[in-house]
Symmetry: C2
Subunit: 223 residues, 2 copies
């Protein structure tokens, strides 16, 4: 929506989100999962386009919209990314001992071998868009904008029944080199996208007995 | 939901998000705004509690849930935060010249003087929750988890008609000192929450002629 008359008309009649919608939205939040177990079925390109359109409306500092998308499509590149993960995960695994190490070894932490769509997300730290508003004291707000966009995309994907898995066990420098992006792009996230083998409301790490949720983040201190 | 039988029953019957819901959700994404113009009307505490419950279900690396909430309530503390903003914004303003500087001076970039609820969000970088999963190569994923939670909270707030404004023109070190939080907590965001003076679909910075949206973030490169 860019036509001023259309915007004025819309603004005169803002949407109302009723209780039925709010209840369903609460379900959406509860049922978004970090998915690592994907079917091999492909995802219609129109669905991805639809998600990208919505994600563009995510918040960003100074309206900078600094997210940059790389669709990782070639089998070769995916194999290199997966090798990156395996290297990093081997080191990560060595931090655990005994039963915990055995449990860690059984966790499935990515779906790079199967997920039909895979995206690397970067932040263009040098974008002129936004003209610098809001990011002089906290330039990391640009990175945060990419994350807010990812969460928007993630929720929207779940409304279509699509699963998203965020892989963070990666060497970001190696990813940047492997994907041949400008050096000013900062690697933020690697997303696997596809149809989940199963929908479930309990998070993977709860489900597979790594740990339960905490309540520490629910406490609000007053100042 | 923590009872295994209840979870199993839920998992046997996952929700479906139909086209009507998806259309309304697309509206929600489009109508979420960064709000700086608030009414003075108070927000019922139950609404905030409801939002905090939902936000707890946001994604986090290794299910670490590292977000830590400070509700900034005292007039004195708010005045100090606002002074922090004014200092930072004066420096920020000096980066612009001529007409652009005049336009910047007219932008309203925060609502700290009016917003009935204000929250500082921190990331507990040392939380044991998650037992380190997913954050060895990219510890910043903890900060990103707080941001994904904020976007979840933001959208949920909008379903209630509540506005959220993210203030990033702040000296994070001074905020941490002013709010007397553990040194291991990293400042992520300052949120103003309240009833918006007006709902509108066009972003503040577009509406006030700072700049239009970009399409750069809509481009997907293939590798």
């Amino acid at each position: 929506m860019t036509d001023p008359a259309e915007i004025a008309a819309a603004n005169a009649n803002p949407p109302v989100f009723d209780e039925a919608f709010r209840d369903k939205f609460a379900e959406l939040i509860a049922w978004r999962r970090d998915v690592r177990r994907f079917k091999t079925d492909s995802v219609a390109p129109e669905l991805i386009e639809q998600l990208l359109d919505l994600a563009q409306l995510a918040p960003s500092v100074g309206n900078s919209q600094p997210w940059r998308w790389i669709s990782v499509d070639s089998a070769e590149t995916r194999a290199r990314i997966r090798a990156n993960f395996l290297r990093c995960n081997e080191i990560a695994a060595s931090a655990y001992q005994g039963e915990r190490a055995a449990l860690y070894a059984k966790l499935k932490l990515e779906g790079i071998d199967v997920a039909p769509r895979q995206f690397a997300l970067f932040c263009d730290r040098t974008t002129a868009q936004g003209l610098g508003v809001g990011r002089q004291t906290m330039p990391e707000a640009l990175d945060y904008s990419v994350v807010a966009m990812i969460e928007t995309f993630w929720l929207a994907a779940r409304t279509l029944g699509l699963g998203v898995g965020w892989v963070s066990i990666l060497d970001p420098q190696a990813i940047t080199t492997e994907l041949d992006v400008p050096a000013t792009w900062k690697f933020i996230a690697y997303l696997c996208v596809g149809w989940p083998v199963e929908h479930h409301v309990d998070p993977e790490l709860v489900r597979h007995h790594w740990q339960d949720r905490t309540t520490a983040g629910r406490i609000v201190l007053s100042r």
